[in-house]
Symmetry: C2
Subunit: 286 residues, 2 copies
C-alpha cells in the first residue's frame, strides 16, 4: 500500500485546543511515535507545515520550523547580559533545544541540566538530531530528576538559571510555585540571572499574574519579555528576566554579542531590546 | 428547540487553513450572517474564544477580541510620526476599524476612505457597533469605489495614506501591485507617510519580498514593522512604513503622544520602537 493511496483514503490532523474552543490544527504526514513515559504521554508527529514536532501531555513542545524562537529567546537574552556566565543550570528542557543554544556560548564552562523524564531525552536524540546536538557537549552534566527537588538539595551555584518548563499541568506544576522559585534563587551566585518561560499573557493571564507576583517578591529586577511563537497557544509567549543586580537593557553586553557573531534566526540586538517593550494589555497584567 | 439542545447534537467549527496543511480552528456559537456581495463571500460568526468575527473571501478580517492590535498598529504608528497629519486617506478598511483609530487623533481634519464593497460597511454597522463607530465621524468622507482606480484619478493630497487591504487574493490583488503604490505615492503631500499592511513574513515570504522591492523603488525610507496578531495566518503580521522624509523612530512625536494620552490596548511608545526591531529571518527576507 503506497503512502499516496493511504493519504487519499483519510487525513490525519492534530488539533490542539486552548480553552476548548480555539486552537491550532496541523495536518500530519506520519505518526513517528506515540507512547507513555512514567510521567506523561509523548508523541512525535511529522507535520506538513511545521516539520516534525514533539507533543507532551497534549501540548506542542516544539516544532522543527519554529523551535528557534523559543530556544534563542530563553538562552541568549540572559547569556548576553551576564558579564561572565560560566556555570549555567537548566531546569527542564529535555528536548535539548535550550542547551543547543546555551552551548553556543564559548564562555560557558559547565552546563547542568535537570530533566525529570529520561524518555523525552531519548525521544529527542532519536527523532530530532538538530535539537539534541547539545547533549554531546562535553560541558554538559545531565541529571534525571525532579527540578523542584533538585534546587532544594543542590549545593552548586550558577551565574544563570534557565527554567525551561512545560505548561503548569502535569509534572511541571511545581515549577510555577513560589517555593520552587525561592529555592532556585538560592542557587544563584550573587548578581546572577534567573530566566523562566511564563506562558501566554493573552491566554493564561492568571498564571502570568501569579508567577510575576511570586517573582517580584524574590528579585529586585523582574521584567517580562516576549516573542511570537506560532505553534504555541495564542502564538504570544512570555519569559521572565529576574536578577537582583543586572538589568537586561542597561547591562546588555554589546561587545560580546558582536564578538561572538552568532548566526540566529530570531534573536538579535534589536529583538533583545524590542522584546522588553510590552503590549499595553500585558504591561497592565503584571 | 433550545440552543443547548442544538449544541449537544452537533458542533460548528470554523477552520482557516494556510497552505492547506495548518490553520486556526474556532468553535462557533452562531452564524450571524452568510452571504455574497458583488465582490466576495461575507460571513459573520460569533465565536466562543474571540467574540464576533468578520470573514471575507474565507479569511478572517478581524475578531472582536484581537482587532485592536491591527488597527492600532496601522493607524497610530504613522499618526504619531507625521508632524501635522491633517488629511488622511484610507484605502480599504471597510470594517471601520482603522478609521475608528484614526478618528481618535483630534489634529486630523479630514479622513477620506475608499472601500470597494459597500456591503462590508453595512455588515460592520449592523454587527459590530464598536468597530463601526468611526463611520459617524463628521470628518469622514466615505467613497465606494476601487482604491486602485481612485488613486489614479484623485486630485487630493494627503499627509498620511493607510493601505488597509485584505489578502492579495480576490478584489484586493491590485492593492499589492507596483502601479498602485506608485499612484498612491503621487497623492502624498511632500514629506508624507504611506503605511500598508504587508502580510506575514513567516507564511507569505514571496508577497513580502515583492512588496518591499516595489516600495523601495518609490520611497527613501521603507521600514517594516510587525506585530503579533493571533487570528491572522501564523499570527505574525507586518506593516510597511514608507516616507521620503520622515523616519518612524527619529521623528516619533513623543510630546504629541504624551499630550493625547490615548488609551490603547497594544500600541504604546515602547511598542512603537520595538515593532521596528525585526526577527533575523524577517530582516534577511527584505
Amino acid at each position: 500500500m503506497s503512502f499516496k493511496y493511504f493519504e487519499n483514503l483519510w487525513n490525519l490532523w492534530y488539533t490542539e485546543l486552548h480553552n476548548g474552543t480555539a486552537g491550532l490544527t496541523l495536518k500530519i504526514k506520519k505518526v513517528l511515535y506515540s507512547g507513555e513515559s512514567k510521567f506523561q504521554r509523548i508523541e512525535v508527529f511529522d507535520t506538513y507545515e511545521y516539520g516534525k514536532m514533539l507533543v507532551l501531555y497534549g501540548s506542542i513542545m516544539f516544532t522543527e520550523r519554529d523551535e528557534f524562537i523559543y530556544h534563542e529567546m530563553i538562552s541568549h537574552v540572559p547569556l548576553f547580559v551576564h558579564p561572565s556566565p560560566e556555570e549555567v543550570l537548566v531546569i527542564g528542557g529535555g528536548d535539548g533545544g535550550t542547551i543547543k543554544e546555551v552551548s553556543r556560548h564559548p564562555g560557558v564552562k559547565r552546563i547542568k541540566m535537570v530533566e525529570i523524564d529520561q524518555q523525552v531525552v531519548e525521544i529527542s536524540k532519536k527523532f530530532f538530531p538538530i535539537m539534541s546536538k547539545g547533549f554531546s557537549d562535553p560541558r554538559l552534566n545531565l541529571i534525571f530528576g525532579d527540578g523542584a527537588e533538585f534546587v532544594k538539595t543542590d549545593t552548586g551555584k550558577y551565574e544563570v538559571i534557565i527554567i525551561d518548563s512545560p505548561d503548569p499541568i502535569g509534572p511541571a506544576d511545581v515549577l510555577f510555585k513560589e517555593e520552587f522559585f525561592s529555592n532556585a534563587k538560592k542557587r544563584l551566585r550573587e548578581g546572577g540571572i534567573l530566566v523562566a518561560q511564563t506562558e501566554s499573557p493573552f491566554y493564561h493571564p492568571d498564571i502570568v499574574k501569579n508567577t510575576y507576583s511570586y517573582l517580584r517578591k524574590l528579585f529586585s529586577n523582574v521584567l517580562m519579555y516576549w516573542s511570537w511563537i506560532p505553534a504555541y497557544p495564542s502564538a504570544m509567549w512570555s519569559f521572565c528576566f529576574c536578577s537582583d543586580k543586572l538589568h537586561p537593557l542597561k547591562n546588555f553586553r554589546e561587545e560580546k554579542y558582536m564578538e561572538l557573531g552568532l548566526e540566529t534566526k530570531y534573536y538579535n540586538k534589536g529583538i533583545h531590546f524590542g522584546a522588553f517593550s510590552l503590549p499595553t494589555f500585558a504591561e497592565k497584567l503584571i
